[in-house]
Amino acid sequence: MSKGTLFDKVWDLHTVGILPSGQTQLFIGLHLIHEVTSPQAFAMLRERGLKVMFPERTVATVDHIVPTTNQARPFVDILAEEMMQSLEKNCQDNGIKFHNIGSGNQGIVHVIAPEQGLTQPGMTIACGDSHTSTHGAFGAIAFGIGTSQVRDVLASQTLSLSKLKVRKIEVNGSLKSGVYAKDVVLHIIRTLGVKGGVGYAYEFAGTTFEQMSMEERMTVCNMSIEGGARCGYVNPDKVTYEYLKGKDFAPKGENWDKAVAWWESLRSNESAEYDDVVVFDAADIPPTITWGITPSQGIGIDQFVPTSEQLPEEDRFVAQEAYQYMDLAPGQAIKGTKIDVCFIGSCTNGRISDLREAAKVAKGRHVANSVKAFVVPGSERVKKEAEAEGLHQIFQEAGFEWREPGCSMCLAMNPDKLEDRQISASSSNRNFKGRQGSASGRTLLMSPAMVAAAAIKGEVSDVRDLLN
């Protein structure tokens, strides 16, 4: 049992009581909702005659279904329009703040809450979306829930949960040039496996994370769930406070000083006890890319698709499935794999720093003729900021399409989809079969800079060859 970690402290502070089942009733400080997983939850509330207990602690936006080209209402997709109307009505009926398209604040739920300062250290945060782990970057305990649990949070602002164990994942040292936060998390998942984190919260510690910006930390925490860990976090520090200061919902005046003192007190103690500790060296992390159908099927850019014999026995079944689905042969180099579509965006890598890194690679170059490439900012604010810096021009001159904010082709619940057997270089988080909208479509996950490199070359390339 862990002791003295941030996770333990925040868990204890939010514990309402122990339920007869033995599970903990946990208070949720911030509840985020979107159009996909909330309509049924509101319907369940209505059926039971329940009200939203703390409407001011739920914030809504729309992201999964929004088109990234023509956003005029009603949407062309009538099902998407119905979901949109349902969310608008539910928010209005229940007094919930809704950041709608065109408000200047709309975007992917895991991009907008941090950028508005809604996400803060020491909070418990829940959302009907598995990438809620993103918010752990601030030292919050944040996790994804299903729709019945969205109902529970709306009705009671609490959840019935079992406490997680805590694994400290320490990475030390500076990242090499061309190696990004995305590579760090892909490397961790590749090493610990897609189910290694089940039952755990991941505490990301060590000098590598201390040196990271908030946006880099968000990329790492975002993909905790791809390693099986429902939540991941970084202890709050000066970088966190600098990021938060002055944001819309950040504490102001004397509350700010009180808040910082409280946040500091929540950091894991030097003497904290963990259920498990794993240590990595940043120098060992190469630009990393997935070759298969789970996020743990990753390799360094200079490596080869592993042969069955090179893999542990328990991973061979899925590897066989992956060779066939991806049409990649064991022992084959990943570099040079031809790419059809390049996607830069998502809650993993759709923030301003991601776009800046990709733009550095794209600047003065041109997307290969055979490639369709597009950039989808994570929010309306990210889009505005990028345009103020001229990033959109860099991308457009290089042959990338510049789109409106949304989840886009990360999960393809909107018009952005792969077709047939197309293969994508994607800065998103999942390479599952069919994930990007075609039942036979293929996805290679990588950093946004690597996606830009793939777009320019028309094939999987080492971004380090294009830097400087």
Binding site: V16, Q120, S130, G144
Partner: protein
């Protein structure tokens, strides 16, 4: 809304594969909806299409099954409750597997579907029995934590909290949670951030 789940019995359906994610259980295009109605027919839609009628969910011999036997890390990926809802609406009311992804497991608890774990040897044997003799009856007892299928009797497990919820019929926690209104407000009142982080309309 209380209903005890102690013994589940019926026919089984084997679904072989590790790391079967919720995008495969219910592809995202079927999430464009405001109710869970009709999801059952789309369970594993793309996998079924790819296997051209050979997927377990399409085989005539498994059409009356209510117990799904899976392997490792079933239900990983997206938090969509549409996944367990689709499986439930297809006709499943209990799963046995080597391991389950955490959010999927929680979603199943919330809709009254137990996910029990068994060792790799047991799940494989269950799948073999059901492949050879699809009509074999499986009985799972949550009080004794035993599964019985043909000649096989084995131990299954589940976290104590979740198991208690099924046995006592309190897997739908909503009413219980709401009834603690006073304690909820007290807990909230002690949190320093509660007054500096309001998101008022």
């Amino acid at each position: 809304m209380v209903s005890e789940v102690k013994i589940v019995s019926g026919q089984g359906i084997p679904l072989i594969g590790n790391d079967i994610d919720t995008d495969r259980i219910i592809p995202a295009r079927f999430l464009r909806c405001v109710t869970f109605d009709g999801l059952g027919e789309h369970a594993f839609a793309d996998d079924r299409k790819a296997l051209n009628g050979q997927h377990a969910f399409d085989q005539a011999k498994y059409q009356s099954a209510n117990i799904l036997i899976v392997n490792r890390n079933f239900g990983c990926g997206s938090s969509r409750e549409h996944a367990p809802q689709a499986i439930a609406k297809w006709g499943i009311n209990l799963l046995i597997g080597e391991s389950f992804a955490e959010i999927f497991f929680g979603n199943c608890v919330a809709i009254g579907i137990p996910c029990l774990t068994a060792d790799a040897d047991t799940t494989q044997k269950l799948q073999e029995i059901l492949t050879a003799n699809p009509q074999t009856v499986i009985t799972v007892n949550l009080e004794t934590m035993q599964v019985q299928c043909g000649n096989l009797t084995a131990t299954v497990s589940m976290s104590e909290g979740a198991r208690n919820m099924f046995i006592s019929g309190s897997w739908d926690a909503c009413g219980q949670l709401v009834s603690q209104g006073k304690q909820i407000k007290e807990t909230a009142g002690k949190l320093p951030y509660i007054n500096w982080s309001l998101a008022t309309v």
